[in-house]
Symmetry: C2
Subunit: 336 residues, 2 copies
Amino acid sequence: MSKNSDESNLVLSSRIRLARNIDKVPFPIRIDEEKGKELIKDVENVFYISPEIKEDYITNYLWNLDEVTDNSFLEKHLISPRLINNYKKSAFILNKDQTVSIMLNEEDHIRLQCITAGLNLEEAFKDANKLDDIIEDKLNYAFDENLGYLTACPTNLGTGLRASVMIHLPVLSMSKEITQLYNAVTQIGMTIRGLYGEGSNADGNVYQISNQISLGVTEEEIINNINAVVNQIINQENIAREHLLKNRKYELEDKIFRSLGILKSAVLMNSKECLSLLSNVRMGIEMGIINDISSQTINELFVSLQPATLQLLVNKKLNDKERDLERAKLIREKLK
Amino acid sequence: MSKNSDESNLVLSSRIRLARNIDKVPFPIRIDEEKGKELIKDVENVFYISPEIKEDYITNYLWNLDEVTDNSFLEKHLISPRLINNYKKSAFILNKDQTVSIMLNEEDHIRLQCITAGLNLEEAFKDANKLDDIIEDKLNYAFDENLGYLTACPTNLGTGLRASVMIHLPVLSMSKEITQLYNAVTQIGMTIRGLYGEGSNADGNVYQISNQISLGVTEEEIINNINAVVNQIINQENIAREHLLKNRKYELEDKIFRSLGILKSAVLMNSKECLSLLSNVRMGIEMGIINDISSQTINELFVSLQPATLQLLVNKKLNDKERDLERAKLIREKLK
């Protein structure tokens, strides 16, 4: 997620996830520890050996990780709560840039994720496809001519593909439009939800839009549909911003610059307030009101100031108050 | 009010006011315009002619001033609402530093005020006394052997002296102690009130403590009593601050630095919020938490950001929102 040069971009990242299972091996829910670890070994063997893999990858075995490390990967969306639940028999293969994460023994045997900066599902899909081919070349996937790829949960049948886009909607969030959006998006078979998935609030006004169904449509159709919807939403958000800028310019600037001022000077800062202030500053950057900070800096803060990641950064266990103190310190340093 | 080098000083200023009337001339309430202007001329004649007057003084005639200018002098405590009410026959003599203001035809013929920085009623009294002598030397004051100086309102009989001290009490203001203080101070014949006199709220946590009675006590006793009470209050405020610093250090620092951060970055700022934030920053300076801003800068902002003074500074009529905009701009420049 490092090369997002377009500061006006409301899309933080695009993500493709493929769900795959090995033929004739029980789904992870029914697999025991020994067989689970065998499956991990099998995937590793075909993956690391391939001449196509030129980047540095490592496997993280969940049974070796502590809770804070688990949660930090979770905060970065590189793993899921279910992978943590299956910790005795689960793992994930991660590249150095943390743009690829292949979860093993999550709900399915293989959950292959590729992430790109900005709105670029095509590139993410291309990357995912390439990695998928490497595995499929040597291992037999569970596949049915009519149903497509077979998955533990029927919602993932077919392409096994979920495409999702993280989008920053601070102005639509303020109004009732966001509720209308929720309804409209759901009606066309998509889901919109907060930063941390199902049931989570949209902290920092970041929403995740993804397809609900992967059966009976092609990969290309899924991606095209998401792109169309996202572009439509970007358009709505931009119209709402222009309206605000025209009618309440000073109030908007006040909100943005105060948020930056508080981030630069606070001594204590909780996670919720932090996300809200960062959202305002990000809006300022996207709208060209703030020019001396990059949206990249804000993206990094968005992630690194989450509780677990923060503790890994300062390398010690922190209670709530200590976290608020360290978080504020880190922001001040980062924004100096 | 320019030479307050002790940054830990909670006292913004000390002020002595003497009420005097010319013998055999009706009190201002009963005087007509012509006689009122004659009286002004009489005082000016003895005042400006004296070899003791070495500083630059000018007379401001209220009938020549516009509303914004009136209100700016009011915001600086150099004149009173009553002087403005009597605008057809009232004036005041002002020195360049604005530490001396001699109101003519306010409630009494002469209301002579001297102001010093910090807690220094003795110096203010010395200055007031000297100027009073100059006038008394040439004009007959209304004086009674038993009642002392005769004044329009009986509360000013006797010495005609009111001593008052402006003191910054942010921590006592937060707690119930301020109510106890109100009661205690009233019981010993003194008054405590907000920055803008009777009935006003203590905006910016600045309180004015003054004597209620001027009859049956000497000038020295009045000043000693106020000093004793003020020192006692300073002590209480400092104890409360130490307690806060010991128990809620980070919360205190957070409040102080956020206030400074907002002042440095806001685009819109109303007067009430401004005073409250400046109070927090002043506390930070007084407690040695902020070291790169002088309390002098804050004192100047306290005054210059009041609505009328602000309009004089930018030299144009401003509506509410324009004032909030100009105020924020001025603060940002001043604190840069």
